[in-house]
Structure formats: structure tokens, C-alpha cells
């Protein structure tokens, strides 16, 4: 088992962190989220161009870095902590879905950083790749250039977002830093990419782990923000961090962080090294991170006091991302029921 970062992973963390701090600081996030697209394409392009993040887990034969899920988790923790808007996570999900099928065309395009994609559930496809039906909620559905429709019978079908019969409508979202869309397919033509049930199950687990890594970043950034504030904010003549009501709450939040990090590292390790342990580890990560991330983000907002309730303060952006992430892959009870099944309860 490997629950601590290697030197290479620490370096990766450092470079992603300093890249985002300079290229996508919170002021940039706010500009992006209020823009028409909801994100800054040039940031996304530099993320892939300079850091090669889109191709991080793509095998080297397709032009990627061939890194593992433990490395991906390090990167996602940073994009989560920075509340990076745009299709990075959606494209990671799509890449994960493509990996078991080793689809050269799309993997190569993703690794090059030139293609955004997102996974779509709901519609069904025929063996000829013709897709019909409604996907009620698709993350970055308006941003993606390729829609990867997951059909239970025929595996993945890649549909061009501009294809005939594809209608995309923006939805309102709780989280202003991540857009979603409803996508309607009316006999839209796509390319069938063969898929196996085992591959699909593994993809689902890996997607849960990727999301958990982002949540770990959101959790950590929330805690760091309120820790810093509690050392400089004074009430009744004392720093608020010296009050037990604040200090003990922060200690409990730290306990959640310690456990959350351990769970994410373990799940990412299992993804790379111990596939048999992955399903349980992924379900655990989804359940624990979903709750812990929201609780910490909520408490961090409340501890900021009135200032945390303002739109101008960043606390609510973390709070909303945390809540939206908690239900991104379904209601929490679904993950809990799945873990119960895995544990043979």
C-alpha cells in the first residue's frame, strides 16, 4: 500500500499548484464563471499545453504521459482546490471511459490537449451508432466537443457535439463554477466504440476516485482558508482561532481532512496497483469525501461569519461546489447501497 506522495508526485503537485495560482487565481475564476462560456479556454489550453494534464493518464503510445491514477489524483486535488472552471474534470471522466477500450483516435486527440469531451448517460444507441433520448444533466455539456454516450448494451458511442439531431440546453446550476446542460439526441449518428461490462464497472469506480480527489482539494482549500482567517480575525479582543468553539471545530475539520486524504490515496493506489480492492475503495471514497467535503466547506463558510455570506467572498463558491459534487454521480444513498452490496451485507 502506498499512502504518501512520492517525490515526483510532490513535484507534480507543486507545478500544478503554482500554475493555477498564477494562471487561474480566484479573481480569474470569478471572471470566467461570469463569462458567457463559463470558463477561459486559454487557461484550459495552457493547462494541457504547458502541463500536459489532459494526457496525464493516457498511455504513452497515444501521446500521453502514461501516468497512474495516483498522479491524476494529485492533479485533480489542485484543480479542485482552485475551483478551476471548465471541462477538465469532464474530459478526465471521458478519458477514463475510453481507457479500457484503448480507442486510439479519441485518446490521441485528448492527449494532445485539443479535444474536450464528456460522458453522457440516459440516451440509448442502436448497433449502428444512432443515438436517441435525453441526457437530463451533463457536466460541461455545452463545452464538450465529443459526447461519449454510455449505452448499457452497445458500450460507448462517440457523438460529435455538432452532429445533426443533437440539441444542447444550458441548465441553471447551484455551482457557478461548473456548468451543466441537458442534451437531447434525436437519431444522432455516432461511432460505436466496443465496451465491456468489466471495463464499464472499472470506469465507474475510477470516475468516483477522480471526483473524490477533486473533493479532497475543495476540502483542503476550504480548511486552509478558514485556518488563515482564524489567525488574523479578532473578536472580543482575541483572535477567533483562540476560542475553543472555533479551535475545536477546526480540529474536527482537520480530522476529516486526515481521513479524507488517506482514503483518496488508498483508492488511487488501488486503482493503479490493486484492482481487486478498487470497487470497495472507490465506493468508500465517494461516500466519505462527498460528506466530509461538504461538511468542511459548510463549516468553513459559517466560521467566516457574516463576510462568508457575501457573494464577493469566495466561501460560497467552495460550499456550492462541495454540495454539487456530493450529488454529481447520484444521491449519496446510491453509493452507500453499492458499498453494502460490495461488503455482502
Amino acid at each position: 500500500m502506498k499512502l504518501v506522495l512520492s517525490q515526483e508526485q510532490q513535484d507534480l503537485r507543486g507545478s500544478v499548484r503554482s500554475f493555477l495560482a498564477s494562471v487561474s487565481p480566484m479573481s480569474g475564476v470569478r471572471e470566467a464563471m461570469e463569462s458567457a462560456d463559463g470558463y477561459d479556454r486559454s487557461v484550459y489550453d495552457r493547462l494541457n499545453g504547458e502541463l500536459g494534464l489532459a494526457g496525464l493518464i493516457v498511455p504513452e503510445e497515444y501521446g500521453g504521459a502514461g501516468a497512474g491514477h495516483a498522479d491524476l489524483a494529485v492533479a485533480l486535488e489542485e484543480t479542485g482546490a482552485a475551483l478551476l472552471p471548465g471541462p477538465f474534470l469532464a474530459t478526465v471522466f471521458a478519458t477514463i471511459a475510453l481507457l479500457p477500450e484503448r480507442d486510439k483516435e479519441l485518446l490521441t486527440a485528448v492527449a494532445g490537449g485539443g479535444l474536450t469531451a464528456t460522458v453522457v448517460s440516459g440516451p440509448s444507441a442502436g448497433p449502428d451508432g444512432v443515438v436517441s433520448g435525453i441526457a437530463p444533466q451533463v457536466i460541461n455539456g455545452l463545452d464538450a466537443e465529443v459526447l461519449l454516450v454510455r449505452d448499457g448494451r452497445h458500450g460507448l458511442v462517440a457523438v460529435d457535439a455538432d452532429a445533426g439531431g443533437v440539441t444542447r440546453e444550458a441548465l441553471g446550476t447551484l455551482d457557478p463554477t461548473r456548468r451543466q446542460a441537458r442534451i437531447t439526441f434525436d437519431r444522432a449518428s455516432g461511432r460505436v466504440i466496443a465496451g465491456s461490462a468489466a471495463g464499464e464497472a472499472r470506469s465507474r469506480d475510477l470516475i468516483a476516485v477522480a471526483l473524490a480527489a477533486e473533493q479532497l482539494g475543495v476540502l483542503r482549500a476550504s480548511l486552509d482558508a478558514i485556518l488563515a482567517y482564524s489567525r488574523i480575525r479578532v473578536a472580543f479582543g482575541r483572535y477567533i482561532g483562540s476560542y475553543q468553539a472555533v479551535k475545536h471545530k477546526l480540529a474536527d475539520m482537520h480530522c476529516k481532512l486526515e481521513q479524507a486524504e488517506s482514503i483518496v490515496r488508498h483508492a488511487a493506489w488501488a486503482a493503479d496497483e490493486s484492482p481487486g480492492e478498487l470497487p470497495e475503495a472507490a465506493a468508500l471514497a465517494q461516500i466519505y469525501l462527498g460528506r466530509a467535503c461538504f461538511e468542511v466547506a459548510r463549516d468553513h463558510l459559517l466560521l467566516f461569519g457574516g463576510i462568508g455570506y457575501t457573494w464577493e467572498h469566495d466561501a460560497h463558491l467552495y460550499y456550492k461546489r462541495a454540495k454539487a459534487d456530493e450529488v454529481l454521480l447520484g444521491p449519496p444513498r446510491a453509493a452507500r447501497a453499492r458499498l453494502a452490496d460490495l461488503l455482502e451485507l
Binding site: 444533466q137 483572535y239 459559517l302 467572498h313
Partner: protein
């Protein structure tokens, strides 16, 4: 007239007059005037200054009936709940004559100007200065979290008049004309995207001498009176109504979630249990009040519980409803709004931590925390945010 008869007549009047859909400040003024003419404005306030001179019993009876209606008097809530009662308690007769009746008749809208960016929970550390000037004071500084300031004619201001004194002993309460030169009101957008609050800036605003409430440098004891009224007016209404307006309430949630799932059922039961527990507590407090036992600081327990219940409910609602609660069409988003507004209840009117301090100190009589800021000259004190 016995209480039942009073209640019956109040209801009849409300049915006739509380029409749906009346909105805006003009409508609020008209409705207040109508309430005043019908004898339902300031029911338990002294007759001498414009009230009806009746008891808390009639006040509560009217409030109980009014819960079934939407009265368009939000703009007057601060004046009626806090500022007016403070003037009645602490004003001179001349001040009561000048300000109480116009408030009750809907002619003057009031706001309350205590909180500052550097003085939230710790109101007494505020920094807005009022310096003596010819025939009054000159005020400079900034306030925040001010409800209804965008409509207000008058403001109840707390300002610092002595920086040499310890923080509680150098404050003075003044009434400020919100239309005076140098007053700027700027809406403050909250995390849910609404602008229910304002920031207020004072740039050399003149306040006449006759607008002093109580004594110079004795503003803290005046503010305590105002804050007491604030807490009573918040806790008086808590948990008693509004469930149908809240999409994260048990009543609304049961209609939209999958109650065929045993886990969902069990979590709805939990929400019901907590909601009912608070409702019954509030009803017990109301019964005690009717029997002449006033809740006092116990109202802070009710306020704390309401804040926790509201956050619990909004959080639970989204977890039960799942992905569709956070990405929605134009007609959706009710639960997203609920979870975006919920923290407000834990922050406005005192944070959960302040409520627990109050319950511990004043209800449970626990020993106070040692205080280092009580006897230091304000100018030497650390306040606000220290980089």
C-alpha cells in the same frame, strides 16, 4: 372584548384587507396606514405615542392570525421589531412624539445601523466615529448587513464618541436621517445572489443634538435594549410558520422525493422529528409567554435550533433529491436556493457560537469566559482583521 372575540375580528379584518400580491414600498406604506386606522399597528404599544395600549395577549393573538396571510410590511419590520421599541423604552417624550406614530402609520421606514465589517459578533468594537460639532455630531464610517436601508427614512445608529474609554463605554446611540447629505447606501449581494442587505457609508454626515438617544457614551446599554428586542422578534416567529414556503421543509419534500426507498423514508422521519421538536418548543414558549413567563435568553436556544434545522433540512433535501437539485431548468432550483440561503440563518441575528454563549451564560448561569477587552482604552485594542 374577550380574546376570542378579538381574534375573530382580527381575522375578519385580515381576510378583508390582506390581499395577495401587494408589493413594494408604496403598498407597504398604504397597508401600514390601514392597519393603523383599524387599530392593528402597535397593538401593545402605549396609547400615548400612537399605540393601542392593549396587552401582549392581543399582540400575540393578532400575530397568530396573521401567520396565515402574507402582510406586505417587510420594509417596516426593523422599525417595528427593534427601532420603535427602543424609542418607546429609551426616548424622551419629545422623541416618542416625533417618531413613534409616523412609524406605526407607515410614514417613516427605519433601519438599524450597528454592525460593521470589523464588528460583527463583537458589535461593541465598532469604529464608526461621531465627533462633536456645532449643535450635534459629525459622523464618519461604514456599516454593513443593514436590512431595508435602501427604503429607510431614519436609522438607529451606534457610533463611537470616545476612543480613550474601554470599548463598551465610548459608544453613543443617535438617530440619523438617511436622506442627509453624506449618506450612501449600497446594496450588498449575498451568497444566494439576493440583495437583502446594504452597506452604508457616512461621509461627514451631520446629526442634530436632539437626535441623541439616552446619554452620550452610554450607547451600549441602549444597544442592549435594541438587541433584546431583535432576538425576541426573531425567535417569536421561528418554527411557527413558513413550512409551505420552504421547499426543503418536510411538508414540501415528502411530495417530491422517493418515499418508496426505506432510507429516504427514514431520513424524512428524521427531518419531521427535528421540525416537530422545534415547533413544539416554540409553542411551549408561546404558551409560557401568554401565561406571563417571558422567554428571555431561552429565545436564543430557539434561534440556534432554527438555524441548525434550516441548514440540516436544506442539506438533506439535496442529498435526497440527488443531481436534479443542483442543475435545473428555469422553474427548478428551489432546493439550490434553499441551500444557498440556509447559512444566513446561522449568521444573521448572532452566529451559532454567540447563541451558545448566550444560552450558557444567561440561561444556564455558567461562569463567564475571562475577557481581556473590557478595560482597555478602545484605541489600544486589537479589533477586526489584523493582517
Amino acid at each position: 372584548m374577550d380574546l376570542e372575540e378579538y381574534r375573530r375580528r382580527a381575522r375578519a379584518w385580515l381576510v378583508e384587507n390582506a390581499v395577495e400580491g401587494a408589493e413594494g414600498v408604496a403598498a407597504a406604506r398604504r397597508f401600514m396606514a390601514a392597519m393603523y386606522d383599524a387599530g392593528y399597528s402597535g397593538i401593545s404599544w402605549p396609547k400615548e405615542w400612537g399605540g393601542q395600549g392593549l396587552t401582549q395577549a392581543e399582540e400575540l393573538a393578532f400575530a397568530a392570525e396573521a401567520r396565515d396571510f402574507t402582510l406586505p410590511i417587510y420594509a417596516f419590520s426593523i422599525g417595528l421589531g427593534m427601532c420603535g421599541p427602543t424609542i418607546v423604552d429609551l426616548g424622551t417624550d419629545e422623541q416618542r412624539r416625533r417618531w413613534v406614530r409616523p412609524l406605526l402609520r407607515g410614514e417613516r421606514i427605519w433601519c438599524q445601523l450597528f454592525s460593521e465589517p470589523g464588528a460583527g459578533s463583537d458589535v461593541a468594537s465598532l469604529q464608526t466615529r461621531a465627533e462633536p460639532a456645532e449643535d450635534g455630531w459629525i459622523v464618519n464610517g461604514q456599516k454593513v448587513w443593514t436590512s431595508v436601508a435602501q427604503y429607510a427614512d431614519l436609522g438607529l445608529l451606534l457610533a463611537r464618541t470616545d476612543v480613550e474609554a474601554p470599548k463598551h463605554r465610548g459608544l453613543t446611540m443617535l438617530v440619523i436621517d438617511m436622506h442627509a447629505p453624506g449618506v450612501t447606501v449600497r446594496p450588498l449581494k449575498d451568497m444566494s445572489g439576493r440583495s437583502n442587505f446594504n452597506e452604508i457609508f457616512f461621509d461627514n454626515v451631520h446629526i442634530p443634538a436632539e437626535n441623541l438617544i439616552g446619554q452620550v457614551d452610554d450607547g451600549w446599554s441602549c444597544a442592549v435594549t435594541t438587541l433584546l428586542h431583535e432576538r425576541l422578534s426573531i425567535s417569536g416567529g421561528v418554527g411557527m410558520s413558513g413550512a409551505r414556503d420552504n421547499p426543503a421543509s418536510f411538508e414540501r419534500l415528502r411530495e417530491v422525493v422517493d418515499t418508496g426507498d426505506p432510507i429516504v423514508r427514514d431520513q424524512l422521519v428524521e427531518l419531521y422529528v427535528r421540525s416537530r421538536a422545534l415547533t413544539l418548543f416554540n409553542q411551549r414558549l408561546a404558551e409560557e409567554t401568554r401565561a406571563g413567563v417571558f422567554p428571555g435568553a431561552r429565545g436564543s436556544a430557539a434561534k440556534l435550533l432554527l438555524a441548525e434545522l434550516t441548514n440540516f433540512g436544506a442539506d438533506l433535501a439535496i442529498s435526497l433529491a440527488g443531481p436534479e437539485a443542483v442543475a435545473y431548468d428555469d422553474d427548478g432550483g428551489g432546493l439550490a436556493r434553499a441551500v444557498s440561503q440556509a447559512p444566513g440563518l446561522s449568521l444573521g441575528g448572532g452566529t451559532n457560537e454567540i447563541m451558545r454563549n448566550i444560552v450558557g451564560d444567561r440561561v444556564l448561569n455558567l461562569p463567564p469566559e475571562p475577557r481581556s477587552d473590557k478595560n482597555v482604552p478602545f484605541k489600544d485594542l486589537k479589533v477586526g482583521t489584523q493582517q
